[in-house]
C-alpha cells in the first residue's frame, strides 16, 4: 500500500515538474502582448491571453480562469499605466504566485518603455476614467511595439538564460522585419497626414501621433463615460465648423454612437481592429496594422 502511494506521489510530482521545464509560461493581459511574446519566444514560450480584442480592456473581471492561469505563470506581460488596474492586481494577489508580483522579474509592463502621451494635467475623477501615467493604449503605434520588443526579449532571456541566444536571434529578425513593415505602412498612410477625424473613445492617441491624424473631438464626453445625446449634438455643432472625413471606433465598442453621428454628419464610420484578433484580417501584429491602414484609407475616400 505504502509503495503504491509512493509511486502515485512520484508520478504526481513528475507531472507537476515536467510542464515547468517545457517552456516559459507567459500570461499576457492583452492580445498584442501575447502576439509579440510569440514573435520573440517562438516555441520556447507558452502564452495564455487573458482578454480578447472584443473585450473592453478597462472592464475585465478577475475571473476564476485568470487566477488559475496566473498561478502557473513564469511571466506576466501587461500594458501597465493602470489599464488593468480593475482586475490584474486582484488576480495576482489571489494566484499565490510570488514570481509575478509587481517589481519581480516575472512582471513586465510595456508602458514602462514607451513615452506616454496625454498625461493628465489635472488628476480628478470629474475628468472621467483618466490614467495618471498617461494614455495606456500604446499598441496603436507600431513604433511602440518596437520599443517594447527589445526589453521584452531581454526579459525572456533573463528568465530563461539557456535560450538567451534563441530569443536574441528572434528579436533581431523581428526588429528588421518590423522596421521594414513600419516604413511600408508609413508610405501607404501618407495620404492620411493631417486628416481631421472623430474618435469614439480616446483610444487612438498614439495612432494619430504616428500618422499625423488630427482628432477634432471624441464622442465620449469624458474618457470611459458613455456618449450622451447632448454631447453628440455638441460634436455635431463642432463638425459644422470643422468637417471631418470619418469617425473611428475600436472593435470592442458598440457602434451606436458612431453610426448616429455618421448618419447625421454624412461621414464614414470606421471600425478598427484595435488589437490582434479585432477582425478577421488582424490575425497577427502585421495583419493588425495592414488592416488598420487599409480601413483608414478606405474611410478617407
Amino acid at each position: 500500500m505504502i509503495s503504491h502511494l509512493q509511486t502515485i506521489a512520484g508520478i504526481a510530482l513528475a507531472a507537476l515538474a515536467v510542464p515547468a521545464l517545457a517552456a516559459l509560461n507567459v500570461f499576457a493581459t492583452m492580445p498584442e502582448w501575447s502576439a509579440l511574446t510569440e514573435e520573440l519566444g517562438g516555441d520556447k514560450v507558452k502564452v495564455y491571453t487573458a482578454t480578447n480584442a472584443l473585450q473592453d480592456a478597462h472592464h475585465v473581471e478577475a475571473k476564476p480562469s485568470l487566477i488559475a492561469r496566473a498561478r502557473s505563470a513564469d511571466l506576466v506581460v501587461a500594458t501597465g499605466a493602470e489599464l488593468e488596474i480593475g482586475w490584474l492586481p486582484l488576480v495576482i494577489q489571489q494566484a499565490g504566485n510570488p514570481k509575478i508580483q509587481p517589481g519581480k522579474p516575472g512582471y513586465f509592463e510595456a508602458t514602462g518603455f514607451v513615452p506616454l502621451l496625454e498625461k493628465p494635467a489635472r488628476l480628478d475623477r470629474s475628468e472621467g476614467d483618466v490614467h495618471p501615467g498617461g494614455n495606456p493604449h500604446i499598441q496603436t503605434d507600431p513604433r511602440n511595439i518596437a520599443r517594447v520588443a527589445g526589453p521584452l526579449a531581454a526579459r525572456l532571456a533573463s528568465l530563461d538564460p539557456e535560450n538567451a541566444a534563441y530569443y536574441q536571434a528572434r528579436y533581431k529578425a523581428f526588429a528588421e522585419r518590423w522596421n521594414a513593415a513600419i516604413a511600408k505602412w508609413e508610405k501607404q498612410a501618407a495620404p492620411l497626414k493631417g486628416m481631421p477625424i472623430l474618435v469614439q473613445h480616446k483610444a487612438f492617441t498614439y495612432l494619430e501621433s504616428w500618422l499625423g491624424l488630427h482628432q477634432v473631438a471624441a464622442l465620449e464626453p469624458k474618457p470611459g463615460i458613455e456618449p450622451t445625446t447632448a454631447h453628440l449634438s455638441e460634436v455635431l455643432a463642432i463638425l459644422q465648423r470643422q468637417p471631418v472625413k470619418m469617425v473611428i471606433r475600436a472593435a470592442y465598442q458598440s457602434d451606436r454612437a458612431s453610426q448616429w453621428i455618421a448618419e447625421r454628419a454624412k461621414i464614414n464610420a470606421v471600425m478598427l481592429p484595435f488589437t490582434v484578433g479585432g477582425d478577421d484580417d488582424a490575425k497577427d501584429l502585421y495583419g493588425l496594422f495592414d488592416d488598420t491602414i487599409a480601413r483608414l484609407l478606405k474611410g478617407a475616400q
Binding site: 473585450q55 499605466a81 499565490g96 514602462g112 520599443r147 536574441q168 458598440s254
Partner: protein
C-alpha cells in the same frame, strides 16, 4: 493672523481714501505701467527658457526610449522600468498607503417597524434589520492598504456606522512571497466561505444580504485568526481554503478560552465556457463552539424568556455563480445568476430562563437542523443600466428542545422574500439603486419595503472579485 491682515488692509484703504493717492500724476501712472511691462517681459523670458528646457528633457527621454536600431537585447539589462511613468513623490508622504472611501445612503419606506425586525423560528443573529424609516446614511467605509515590506501586504478597513460608531471591519496582513500557490492571511478578515461572504456590502447586487446570510451568519461571518488558501496548478481553478479563528462572531460567541474558537474549510472551482461564459462553484464548512450564546424568546406561556446555548454549531454552504457576457465583454450587456444553499446543525445544551427572571431556570439538551437558500439574477440591458430579481427562502426545519419542550415551542414556518431591483451606474465609481421587496418573515406579517440607495466610491481604484 486676522490682526495681521487687518493692518495692511486698513493702510491700503487709507491710501485709497487719501487725496494724495487721488492726485497721482500721469507721470506716476506711466512709471507704474512701465514697471508692469518690465515684469511681464521678464516672466515671459523665464517661461520661454523653461519651455526650452522641457523640450530638451522630452527629447532626451524620447531618445532614451527610441526605436532601438537593432541592439542585441541581451545587452539591455532587464530593468524593472526604464522610464518610470510617474516621478516618485517626495517627502514623508511618498510611502502613504492607498486610501479609498465608500459613501452610502438610503431612503427606506417600510410597512413594518424595522426595530421589531426578526425572522420567526431562527435564533436572533444580531444586527440584521434594514435601515431606519426615511432618510439615513448607510455604512460608510474607509480603507487603507499598501505593501508593508517585500513579503507582506497590509489592509485596514473601517466601517463607520450611521449611529456614529466605528468598527474595524477588516485588518489583515497577507504574505505575498509564498511559493507554490499558497496565500497565508492573518488578522481580522471576512471569511472565504460561500460566495457573497467575503464581498463587501457596497459591491452586492442588492441593498441587503440574502435571508440565509442574515439568519445563519448575522449578515457576514468574519473572525480574528488565520487563513491559508492554496490554488492548484491546474487550468481549471481549484482553490482550497482553511481558516481558524476566535469564533466570536455569530453563530459563535466570545468564549474566554485559549485555543481555537472556529474552523472553516472550503473549496472553490471555476472556469470559462467558451469566451462568453464563466462560472464558479464552491462547497464550504464552518464549525464553531458558542459558549452561553444568549438571546430572548417568547415561551409557550407568552413570557419573554432569556435563553443561553452552549455547544457545537455546524454550517455547510453550497454556492454557484454563472456569468454571461457576449464575447466576454461585460461593458454593454451581461447577465449573472447566483445562488447559495445553507444547512445548519446545532447540538448542545440550552438553558431556559438563563437570568432566573421567571424563577424556572432549567438546562436540557438542544438540537436544531435548519436550512435556507436564495437565487438571484441580474441583467445589464444597456451600458450603465441593470435590473435584477431575487428569491430567498428559509426552512425552520426541526428544533428539539429536550426537557425544555415544556416551555418552548418552535415555529413551523418558512420565511420567504421576493425582491426586484433597478440600478444606474453612471461611472465606475457611483451607483444609484431602487429596490422593492416583499418579505414574510413572521407568520402574521408582510413587510413591503422600498429602498432608494446611492453608493459612491472615492480614492484608490478598487478591484472587484468575480
Amino acid at each position: 493672523m486676522t490682526r495681521n491682515l487687518v493692518v495692511p488692509g486698513a493702510f491700503a484703504l487709507a491710501l485709497l481714501a487719501s487725496p494724495a493717492a487721488k492726485a497721482a500724476t500721469d507721470a506716476d501712472l506711466a512709471e507704474i505701467r512701465a514697471q508692469i511691462q518690465q515684469l511681464k517681459e521678464s516672466y515671459e523670458a523665464r517661461i520661454q527658457a523653461l519651455e526650452q528646457r522641457l523640450k530638451e528633457a522630452e527629447a532626451k527621454t524620447a531618445a532614451a526610449t527610441a526605436v532601438p536600431a537593432t541592439p542585441a537585447p541581451a545587452e539591455i539589462p532587464a530593468p524593472a522600468s526604464v522610464v518610470s511613468a510617474m516621478p516618485p513623490s517626495s517627502g514623508i508622504s511618498a510611502f502613504n498607503p492607498a486610501i479609498s472611501a465608500v459613501l452610502q445612503g438610503v431612503y427606506a419606506n417600510l410597512s413594518q417597524d424595522p426595530k421589531q425586525y426578526a425572522i420567526a423560528g431562527f435564533v436572533p443573529s444580531g444586527d440584521i434589520a434594514p435601515a431606519k424609516r426615511g432618510f439615513s446614511i448607510a455604512e460608510s467605509e474607509l480603507g487603507l492598504s499598501a505593501n508593508v515590506d517585500d513579503k507582506i501586504f497590509g489592509n485596514l478597513i473601517f466601517s463607520l456606522a450611521p449611529d456614529n460608531s466605528v468598527e474595524v471591519e477588516e485588518a489583515y496582513g497577507v504574505f505575498t512571497g509564498v511559493p507554490n500557490g499558497f496565500t497565508p492571511k492573518f488578522g481580522r478578515f471576512l471569511s472565504g466561505i460561500g460566495y457573497l461572504n467575503d464581498q463587501h456590502q457596497h459591491v452586492w447586487d442588492f441593498y441587503d444580504a440574502p435571508l440565509p446570510y442574515q439568519a445563519f451568519l448575522g449578515g457576514q461571518f468574519r473572525s480574528d485568526g488565520l487563513q491559508l488558501k492554496w490554488v492548484a496548478p491546474t487550468d481549471l481553478l481549484l482553490e482550497f481554503g482553511a481558516e481558524i479563528g476566535d469564533g466570536s462572531s455569530f453563530p459563535g460567541t466570545d468564549r474566554n478560552k485559549n485555543g481555537i474558537g472556529s474552523g472553516a474549510f472550503y473549496v472553490h472551482a471555476g472556469d470559462d465556457v467558451g469566451t462568453s461564459n464563466s462560472w464558479r462553484a464552491g462547497l464550504s464548512y464552518l464549525q464553531l463552539r458558542p459558549n452561553d450564546r444568549q438571546y430572548a424568546q417568547t415561551d409557550v406561556a407568552g413570557n419573554s424568556a432569556q435563553l443561553g446555548f452552549s455547544g457545537k454549531s455546524q454550517l455547510a454552504i453550497a454556492d454557484f455563480v454563472w456569468k454571461w457576457a457576449p464575447n466576454g465583454n461585460a461593458m454593454n450587456t451581461h447577465f449573472k445568476v447566483q445562488g447559495e444553499y445553507f444547512w445548519r446543525k446545532e447540538t448542545g445544551d440550552l438553558t431556559y430562563d438563563n437570568d432566573g427572571a421567571l424563577g424556572l431556570t432549567q438546562t436540557s439538551t438542544y438540537s436544531s437542523r435548519q436550512s435556507g437558500w436564495y437565487i438571484d439574477g441580474v441583467y445589464q440591458f444597456m451600458p450603465s443600466w441593470r435590473v435584477g430579481a431575487r428569491y430567498d427562502r428559509l426552512s425552520t426545519g426541526t428544533v428539539d428542545y429536550g426537557a425544555n419542550g415544556t416551555y418552548l415551542a418552535s415555529a413551523s414556518f418558512n420565511p420567504q422574500r421576493y425582491s426586484v431591483m433597478f440600478d444606474f451606474t453612471p461611472s465606475e465609481f457611483s451607483r444609484f439603486r431602487i429596490q422593492w421587496q416583499q418579505s414574510k418573515l413572521r407568520p402574521d406579517l408582510t413587510d413591503n419595503q422600498l429602498f432608494v440607495q446611492y453608493i459612491l466610491t472615492l480614492g484608490a481604484h478598487g478591484a472587484h472579485k468575480f
